[in-house]
Symmetry: C2
Subunit: 454 residues, 2 copies
């Protein structure tokens, strides 16, 4: 332990998933540690993945997203400040400079241990008009509140969502739920670029079936406003889309500027580089969540996959180690899931596309199958795509599209990919069967069996 | 290949799941093989697990349960006879004696290969009155038709179900759906004896919440009839239950009499003993499905677990090998699932009870957790019980009770148990997360994490 001014103090920068997980975990392991968390926005410990559902009103109030308030953290002995931005880190002095955004004053806080959990920021495509009234992105609770206020006050009719990753898709669904004529622009030639095109098309079809106008291979080039400075249209490579509200969902990048300026080493795609204990290259400084890199077990190298569940896990590991414990983050296999309307879609491991890019030998098969015994009322059919190594039979990845809840079956594939199961081993699994749950040959076994034939 | 009269002929005894799977598989592998199947009842290739849903009218017509008719099999070159009972097997002559139940005539058929798929029969508790009018068991389509005819013609008011295994539970639900006052008697001190009592109680509660009168530790001792020979009451160790209809669901035993008389070796609990290729001790004779034993990977020995999915898999293996191929059945880990009303319940691997009986070191933990992000509308809470080896951390078994479809999550545990994963490995899995599917910490990860703390 160092003997500086910040002795026995853990400072946490960023109070959402990773930051507050780290703080809570450190508190549990070390009751004597002083723990202070600074969050730039007005909310801590909230489910940012729920923001699209705030817009759709599935989640009625912004406060519903919050797991614990600063007051509740305070009672656990975690001093938590909202509207406080850390403006710089001095790793040699072991201090952070903090700005109280309400009061305007700045002050310096010494630390013994530091967890950087600054999160991610919405990528802003380089084009004019992103600052017009009615143009939004969706990262914080305040973003969600502002969208809902704009919807309430302006009753827009036409929405354009720029970007068709999972947040874009979820927001498009939410806009439709709010009665908006919605257009979804995707720069790639498909929605959900993390999926293979033959699976992503099922989501595109589902969106279109529910009234979303989807335009792929279509790059937004600028946003036009009217004379009052309010958004009027989106100009893209394929056309001009009238818009009363625009959501930019062009992806997320790591908010690593603070760390970089402090001399903390960066990793892939501008993330903060970490080891399996979420340690940065600076002793005593940890990073976790959407600002940090994530070890990908199938790629065998760090990657950037900003997801709430990973942020929570990484925060827990960082908090453990910051409190003097010894935890490791086991890495990810790239499992992602989302839904829109009646379709759930999920992926784990490598897609066919990714395996091809990596030059890895791969074979694929896609099956369509019922999800219940043939005589039992069914929510619909499921599509399963498997990607495996034809030399060893090892499963490399899987994708599912089907009735919403069926997509959760991806977890079995996540476990299989994680543990290097072969398609033969997959086919031999003793999966559960009863008519209300599955056909007598579970679709997963059918997929494995068809793969075996190849 | 033998050179007897039955050269190039495969005879299949029993035409439901295992038998017709074997026939269909053999046909696919060997287009020249003569294949003849004999089925005692009037239906082949039907989903017997769907029979309770025929009573509840979720399945409207008996024919809905049928996958393929004898005519359809005929077009595939599989000669299929219903109402034909095989009355004896002569393994030295390689012949079976067959009785045409409609015509009354008997004849002898030579075979080169034989698949015995005689299935299981309902256990009839030794007590008076089981032959009264209005007393049923439920194994064949005809059984289901007779129950429905009795319900239609007699409009019974009170039902008693004897036996609270999964068929008893499903029938109790079906009787309630048909408007009957239903009593469910369980000889053990719990329903669903394949589960631990602390999980089974959740099903008991759900049944009671929906109007089923459940009486545990209550052994039926006799059934009383009125002067017309129709059922009037069930007398049990705990009382007398008035009944206008009675379902005996006291379990299933292997229908192995024919095999035994032919000198084919029997295995555990009166099943036909088989190797991993579903071969009996007699060359050229295979057995599969509810009449055969099933290798249990966790017990490391054969067991009796008559289930539709296993029957189909075993039939496929038997058919492959009967056609000269080389397939093996990989065994089971005891995965079972069922539902009643709003509760799904599932088990895989060893229960606490079973681990105790086997004298295996074990630790357990049970968690209750939300099934969606806390702010997302949820179908309810899930209960997960883990059983693991405290010395190695290896998962031995899991049980789930919760909103119906959540029980299907058991498949992940089935894979984990099958592959000897530890609770630490389980905790490290990259499971899917989005608010409509799971909380940010999936309940499975929570269960593993809590187990880790023990």
């Amino acid at each position: 332990m160092s003997k500086g001014k910040g002795n026995r103090r853990l400072v946490v920068i960023g109070g959402v998933a990773a930051g507050m997980s780290a703080a809570a975990r450190a508190r549990r392991l070390d009751p004597d540690l002083e723990i202070v968390a600074y969050e730039r926005s007005g909310y801590v410990s909230y489910g940012s993945c729920g923001l699209p559902y705030l817009i759709s009103l599935v989640v009625p109030e912004p406060e519903d997203l919050v797991v614990r308030t600063p007051e509740q953290f305070g009672k656990q002995g975690i001093e938590t400040h909202t509207h406080h931005e850390v403006t710089s880190i001095d790793v040699s002095q072991q201090t952070v400079k903090v700005k109280d955004l309400d009061e305007g004053r700045e002050f310096t806080v010494p630390y013994e241990r530091l967890v950087v959990a600054t999160g991610g920021v919405a990528v802003e495509p380089p084009m004019p008009g992103t600052d017009l009234e009615g143009v939004f992105s969706l990262r914080t609770v305040e973003d969600g509140i502002e969208v809902n206020r704009f919807l309430a006050e302006n009753s827009p009719r036409r929405a354009v969502v720029i970007g068709a990753g999972y947040i874009g898709v979820e927001v498009a669904e939410s806009f439709v739920e709010r009665g908006l004529e919605t257009t979804l622009l995707s720069r790639p030639a498909q929605v959900l670029a993390g999926f293979d095109p033959d699976m992503a098309i099922k989501m595109q079809t589902e969106l279109e079936r529910n009234g979303v106008k989807v335009s792929v291979d279509d790059t937004a080039q600028g946003i036009e406003g009217d004379s009052t400075g309010r958004v009027r249209a989106v100009v893209s490579s394929q056309g001009v889309y009238e818009a009363d509200i625009v959501m930019i969902a062009a992806g997320v990048r790591a908010e690593s500027g603070l760390a970089k300026e402090a001399g903390i080493e960066l990793g892939t795609k501008g993330t903060i580089a970490v080891d399996e204990g979420m340690r940065t290259n600076v002793p005593g400084v940890f990073a976790a969540g959407d600002c940090a890199e994530t070890y990908h077990l199938l790629l065998g190298e760090p990657s950037y996959l900003p997801l709430g569940t990973t942020a929570n896990k990484q925060g827990r590991v960082a908090g453990t180690n910051a409190a003097g414990g010894n935890a490791t983050f086991g890495g990810v296999v790239g499992t992602t899931i989302t839904k829109a309307f009646g379709l759930g879609i999920a992926v784990t491991g490598l897609t066919e596309k990714k395996a091809g890019e990596l030059g890895r030998p791969h074979a694929t098969v896609t099956i369509e199958h019922g999800t219940r015994a043939h005589y039992y009322p069914s929510p619909g059919r499921i599509h399963i795509k498997l990607v495996w190594d034809p030399d060893t039979g090892t499963l490399l990845g899987a994708q599912i599209a089907g009735p919403v809840l069926e997509a959760k079956r991806i977890d079995l594939f996540a476990a299989a990919v994680h543990h290097g199961m072969t398609i033969e081993e997959l086919q031999g699994l003793d999966l559960s069967y009863a008519p209300p749950f599955a056909p007598v040959w579970d679709p997963i076994l059918v997929a494995a069996r068809v793969a075996m034939k190849e």
